[in-house]
Symmetry: C2
Subunit: 497 residues, 2 copies
Amino acid sequence: MDSLQALKDRLAPIVDVQRVARLLSWDLQTVMPPAGAQHRAEQLGTLQQLAHERLTDAETGRLLEAAEREVDGLDPDSDDVTLVRLVRRDYDKAVRVPSELRAEMARAAAEARPVWVRAKEASDFAAFLPALEHNVDLRLRYIECFEGVDEPYDILLDDFEPQTSTAEVRALFDELKGALVPLIAELRDGDTDDSFLTGSFPPDRQERLAKGVVDLFGMRPGSWRLDPTVHPFASGAGVDDVRITTSYDPATIKSLFSTMHEYGHGLYNHQLPRDLERLPTGGPCSLGIHESQSRLWENLVGRSVPFWRFFYPRVRETYPEQLGDVDLDRFLAAINKVKPSLIRIKADEVTYGMHVILRFELEQDIVNGRVALTDLPEAWNAKMSEYLGVEVPDDAHGVLQDTHWSGGMIGYFPTYLLGTVMSVQIWQKAAEDLPELEDAVGRGEFAPLRDWLGEHVHRLGRKFSPQETLRRATGSEIDAKPYLAYLESKYRAGVAA
Amino acid sequence: MDSLQALKDRLAPIVDVQRVARLLSWDLQTVMPPAGAQHRAEQLGTLQQLAHERLTDAETGRLLEAAEREVDGLDPDSDDVTLVRLVRRDYDKAVRVPSELRAEMARAAAEARPVWVRAKEASDFAAFLPALEHNVDLRLRYIECFEGVDEPYDILLDDFEPQTSTAEVRALFDELKGALVPLIAELRDGDTDDSFLTGSFPPDRQERLAKGVVDLFGMRPGSWRLDPTVHPFASGAGVDDVRITTSYDPATIKSLFSTMHEYGHGLYNHQLPRDLERLPTGGPCSLGIHESQSRLWENLVGRSVPFWRFFYPRVRETYPEQLGDVDLDRFLAAINKVKPSLIRIKADEVTYGMHVILRFELEQDIVNGRVALTDLPEAWNAKMSEYLGVEVPDDAHGVLQDTHWSGGMIGYFPTYLLGTVMSVQIWQKAAEDLPELEDAVGRGEFAPLRDWLGEHVHRLGRKFSPQETLRRATGSEIDAKPYLAYLESKYRAGVAA
């Protein structure tokens, strides 16, 4: 197995460089002096270029062919065979894309980010348009590197959710849309009082509570940190260096939920297989699987009755002025209130999906040239009105709200809803395997859930496709029905302790 | 000039990677979750390996030869000729060292650091010894890659202070030693009261003051940050991303001086030539020149009468309990008190040099096999007694105090004293060119000094050798006499406003 070992040695630095790039991106969004943006763009471009050059080098191709011969006939599920299979996939994709284009995409993304931040602050889409055009143009050039696909969007989607076609996603989303639109119409005019969730929530107390949640859910001490940023995300440099971020809005309690969400991402990174750590198979499977983890902790744990029976007293004590005379049932009803709104990351569980479907549809229109970028705000606003019945007052609350397109990340959004759908399938399988799960959550004990996720999802790393990973974890293919049934039973019945 | 341009394009990613490595090292020492140390060691090793592979690649050699032909006959001081000359030097050195050894040196250094931190905390040299042995062994293997040098230590010194021989440094240091030992003996028993410099200095006030000093000395807004760490240092990712660190000891005022010191390093990084930014010539010249900048701001500005006439009221207001009844003259005398002590970074200006000379001598003994590493504490303590007349109570206050050897950085220490000597030569030349310099400092105006340093020192980057850089800035070779004359006139006369 000499060639296989040589291939692994050749790949390890690529994995390191990709992790370093993630750390630089964390730094950019949390602690970097703002003037450093231009350096950072160059540095991220260079790392992308070096990783890409090394992966697409003739020597990698030679070692890969030799390794394929070496592992021929071995157990197809083994670490070595899955590695060689994955590297073949990555290699065949990568060699089609010139290093210069890869580097330019990374640079353009890093350069566009501050432009987007300023444009969003000023709610000025026109100021963002040139950066968006440049990034979209690079994506179209990227698509041109490939041939023989059913539709161009498949290429972009594959970078975030591998081996998943636009057609499959469209079918799933159409099923969801058919059920969500009437459900939203039915629930939207509820008169649940959630006024106490807006008011004064001092950021220092929010931070203490957020760190308390991460401590409670659990990660090994000394292996994580939590920092404030504008747009929350999770990152890190390895299983023992997990970085999650959140955003403390002094007027709301939302950081609690965004922290639980990012904790789910962080735990996935934390429990990836240590023995595959410097191999491509040791990374996370896909953004959809990643999101299934964050949504599971945010919603299936973090908006559930058992969790709040345990945790509400602590939150109430933290904000006595706001919540002193709010009992658990009123709190539960408020945090689960269904109300169509403008901002995806603040959306409730029921309306959330339509925010994603809107973006998925617009992205296909962009890639297929069915919408001009200048007309994007108008197209956005029309769909918001149609799907959620809300009118967009300005672009900061509309088309400029998310950072993704500033980074050229087209094809990313659908993974949010794929993950949300899968989160329910994974939760239900965990609950089936662990009959005590709800009781444990109600006692504030999360080790059983952490361990189950570690064993059935996280430790698979990137060995298999997202759908194969889901099948191994749950025994099922991706399916809208459990998710829709969960929403209907939870929200039609009303939530109470 | 096609080959020259291709060479520049080939080198730019190396410069980027080196800057990224510096940023990772900053992260390691300021914000990284402690469990992340192993990942970080691998990542730093990989970056070192990638940069080294790219520099020593046959293609670089081919472009370098072609570029040498292209620039033949051009102005030897031009950006292009100095670049080609420098790259030839770097390349010829680098090709002698296998990439694996380079990577192993970086990994071993990163792995040793937490070992050193724990050993220092426990004052347990034996716990540090294996890591030290491994790092020293790698350094000896590194030396073996070279041939035809006068003495082995030259190889190590050249990595920190290029084109400077051990013999030259020894001659300079012997001259200093001859003058410092009697000067210290004469001044050591002064009865200056500095008791008020120990007591209660709340870290939040120290931090406010430290940031105030950086603001006052001046850097472009949004291009720097100041963070706490154990062992202060300056780092950064480019001229617009400067990171300085300091350490807030609640019992002393020392962070003020360490901040001024690190500001000097930071300003140098901040004013390096922007037009050479992604070229090897765009970096700092040497650690000696770097240290001349930090020592200039720490001592020539930061322990001077004019500066404190301006700044003392602010410090006194910050710590009224400690300094309320201490007048400027008493304060100036205290911060300039000569008293042999155990810790280099806390040493006064007069005794500082002997701390460095001790290390320089021990390092040569290590490299030449004249001292076994197990005997290092004993050898250290004997020299402390001989040169400074102080007895070392434990290894934490002796051989374990500095981080350098944990990172295998042998040959680094002498640059501290080289820089200190040069700082006086540079200051005196600045004062000659700027007759108003002392008055400006006394008014809290630092732009003239910043600009002078930028024009005469910083903008030269790494175009020339350290000694050539000094000659261009001051018109003189390195010389112990101005430094000794400065110490004698300042300290024999006593310091007063």
